[in-house]
Assembly symmetry: C2
Homo-oligomer: 228 residues x 2
DNA sequence: CGCGGTTTTGAAGCAGTTCAAGTAGCGTGG
DNA sequence: CCACGCTACTTGAACTGCTTCAAAACCGCG
């Protein structure tokens, strides 16, 4: 039940202006296209709201959150981005959301300007970008339904199923993000998230690992029923 | 604070298959491009979730809501579409949201297939479609923040300011939609919406018309403060 | 082994919901 | 033209799911 991108866009490229952050020196051409590699440590900022949008990214490893803030600090994480996901596309030339690494992360960075060039030919990346945009929109819809109309238990169920569907290998789901991140994604408090996990475990629907950062889906059918 | 499109997409056109509804006979070529005119009465369905997506639309007059449903009937309206807005673009060939007219409405309908043709040249419509997609994404983000983190009063304030910004001529905002529609858009109940309106009126922030379907923004600054 | 951060648990509070009337606008038909 | 009946909106009162505030348990780490 994740929402994907910050915002996607086909806006004209703005190559002028300072970059969102001093671009780290760890760049290198990559085989997977025109992207440059960038490494980000856990909890490190990738870009902030208001920054000039120069690049968009593909997650190679790790996990990223994109979020918006209210003036008093309330935060809404609109999506977690896992390996393979593209994020950071913007409609305008300014960041409408912030992004930072949830865990140690490796990214592939592309200039927004390249997109247009790439769009001309039948490049694989161009398709991927368009697909990412569309997926972002669908996820945003799903997430609005979740935030507007689902109970805490339903939200957590949707979240776990969504994660399982994306990163899920077997019935075990890794939770690279903190309870606070989950809470800010699901529109709940950390206490509610924790209590909901506990409740689902008590009911035999899930099992929590000792370190609390992984979940085993014991009764996926029950979760799907909750997903309404 | 509206969210715009159902979902936007550049998916390959699927000209086969039945249309979402028997296309009404009231079609006619229009000067504004390749669109055909379609009239829809208030509360009439334009298309339903699950329908094959054949057209996308531009609102000429009236108002449209696009929404998703949970199995038990809970509804989330992801956006209201006012004159000038484009909605009904889909990533896949199936409708992920339903749409119906809030009031008597006139639409301009375009085949999804046309989009690709139009995209090739530098048509005005093509630009408009892309812009609509991007706007939809930005609005979805704003709306997720609203649904996930704002109080009832803040939600209503955002909603009114959003409407004012779009359809707003002077300080008066028309509300073509019912309280139920507003509630399902803001993730509240009709009672909460009503009480919040009443509360804002009591505090001199807004004034409600006699028929309750229009609002005067008496203290826009106060609303903006609430918008956080 | 003790410290700092995260997660869980507990208890009280409250914003918004739910259930239940009451009121008002409006089209219909007498 | 007004009474009727319908539907939409508002208001009231009680309830509750989630939050808030507080503290305990757990974990990783030096």
């Amino acid at each position: 039940m994740q929402v994907a991108l910050a915002t996607a866009g086909l806006a004209p490229a703005h190559d002028a202006g300072r970059d969102e952050r001093a671009p780290p020196s760890l760049w290198a051409r990559d085989a997977a296209g025109a992207g440059s590699r960038r490494r980000v440590a856990a909890e490190e900022e990738i870009y902030a709201e208001g920054d000039r949008a120069v690049h968009f990214y593909k997650v190679m490893s790790g996990a990223v959150r994109t979020y918006r803030l209210l003036s008093d600090g309330r935060r809404q994480i609109d999506g977690f981005h896992l390996p393979g996901d593209i994020f950071g596309l913007e409609a305008g030339d300014e960041r409408r959301a912030g992004a930072d690494a949830v865990a140690d992360t490796t990214l592939l960075a592309f200039r927004h300007g390249d997109r247009d060039a790439l769009a001309g030919e039948a490049g694989a990346l161009a398709r991927e970008v368009v697909a990412a945009m569309l997926r972002a929109l669908e996820r945003a819809q799903d997430h609005m339904l979740l935030l507007g109309r689902k109970s805490a238990r339903e939200r957590v169920a949707s979240f776990l199923l969504g994660l399982a569907g994306r990163a899920g290998s077997d019935g075990t789901v890794a939770l690279p993000m903190s309870r606070a991140d989950i809470a800010d994604h699901l529109g709940l408090t950390i206490e509610s998230v924790s209590r909901t996990f506990t409740g689902l475990e008590r009911d035999g629907v899930i099992a929590l690992s000792a370190q609390r950062r992984a979940v085993v889906l014991r009764d996926e059918a029950a979760l799907r029923r909750l997903d309404a």
